[in-house]
C-alpha cells in the first residue's frame, strides 16, 4: 500500500476516535447526573434498596442512552467506510 493509503486508514481511525471521545464524555456526564439522583446521608450514598434498585436499572438505561447518542450508528459507519478505504489501496 502507498504511504497515502496507510495515512488515510489512520486518519479514518482518528475521526472515529474523536467521535468516541465525545460519546464517552456524554456517558460520563450522564453517569454523574444519575449519581446525584441517589439518596444520600451526610454526603454519603445510602445502601438502601431504593438506591440499589435504581443502580440495577441504570445498566439498561446507559446502554440505551449510548444507542440514542449515536454509538451504534458510529459502529455502522465505521464498517461502512471500509469499501471506500479499500478502493484507496
Amino acid at each position: 500500500m502507498s504511504e497515502t493509503s496507510i495515512k488515510a486508514f489512520q486518519d479514518n481511525a482518528d475521526h472515529y476516535i474523536n467521535l468516541i471521545n465525545k460519546i464517552g464524555k456524554k456517558v460520563q456526564r450522564e453517569s454523574v447526573a444519575f449519581l446525584k439522583t441517589l439518596d444520600t446521608e451526610d454526603g454519603h450514598l445510602l445502601p438502601s434498596n431504593a438506591n440499589l434498585e435504581k443502580v440495577l436499572l441504570f445498566q439498561a438505561y446507559i446502554k440505551k442512552y449510548m444507542e440514542t447518542i449515536g454509538y451504534d450508528d458510529l459502529v455502522e459507519k465505521f464498517i461502512a467506510d471500509v469499501p471506500e478505504l479499500v478502493k484507496l489501496t
Binding site: M1, Q28, G43, K63
Partner: protein, 167 residues
C-alpha cells in the same frame, strides 16, 4: 506498491468487519455492566458523593479508551491484512515478498519491539530492520503478537529495492 485484491478476498475482509461489529458493540455492553458494578460497590460501601463522582467518571471514561484502542487497532489490522493478501497474490505469481516496517518515526511513545522493527534496536533475528524478508516478518509477528494501538505496519517493497537497501 499498489494493493492486489481479487473478488474472493472480499469474504476475508468482510469477516474482519463482522468481528469489528461484535467487538465494538461488546464494548458498549461491557461499559454498562462496568458502570453498574462500580455504582453497586459505591452504594453498598456508603461512598462519599465526591468519591463516587470521581470513581464513576473514571469507570465511564474507560469506554473512550477501550473503543479508541479497538478502532485504532482494527484499522491497522485491516490495512495489514490488505498488504498480506497482496503478498499472497504476488507469491502465487512466483514473486518474492519483502517488507519495510513502516509508520510513525521514533519518539518517546515508540514501544521496544517497534524500535527493533524500525531498525533502531539491535536484534540478531532482524539484522536488516526496518527491511524484512517474509520469514523475518512472520517471526517478528509471532514474537510480539498483536500490537494494540501500534502506529506501524509491514508495507510491501520490491525485491530490487530490498536488495539495494540491504546490500
Amino acid at each position: 506498491m499498489k494493493a492486489i485484491l481479487k473478488q474472493a478476498d472480499a469474504a476475508n475482509l468482510a469477516l474482519l468487519q463482522s468481528i469489528d461489529v461484535d467487538e465494538l458493540l461488546g464494548i458498549k455492553d461491557q461499559l454498562a455492566i462496568s458502570v453498574k458494578t462500580n455504582l453497586q460497590a459505591l452504594v453498598t460501601g456508603k461512598a462519599s458523593l465526591i468519591e463516587a463522582v470521581i470513581s464513576v467518571e473514571k469507570s465511564a471514561g474507560v469506554l473512550s479508551q477501550h473503543a479508541a484502542t479497538y478502532i485504532n487497532t482494527s484499522r491497522s489490522t485491516l490495512s495489514q491484512r490488505i498488504t498480506d493478501i497482496t503478498a499472497g497474490h504476488l507469491k502465487e505469481e512466483g514473486g518474492g515478498v519483502f517488507y519495510e516496517y513502516f509508520g510513525s518515526p521514533l519518539d518517546d511513545r515508540t514501544r521496544p519491539e517497534c524500535v527493533i522493527g524500525l531498525g533502531h534496536g539491535s536484534s540478531a533475528n532482524y539484522p536488516n530492520a526496518p527491511y524484512f524478508t517474509e520469514d523475518e516478518k512472520a517471526s517478528f509477528e509471532a514474537e510480539f503478537g498483536l500490537r494494540w494501538n501500534c502506529r506501524h505496519e509491514f508495507n510491501l517493497i520490491t525485491e530490487a529495492y530490498y536488495k539495494k537497501v540491504t546490500s
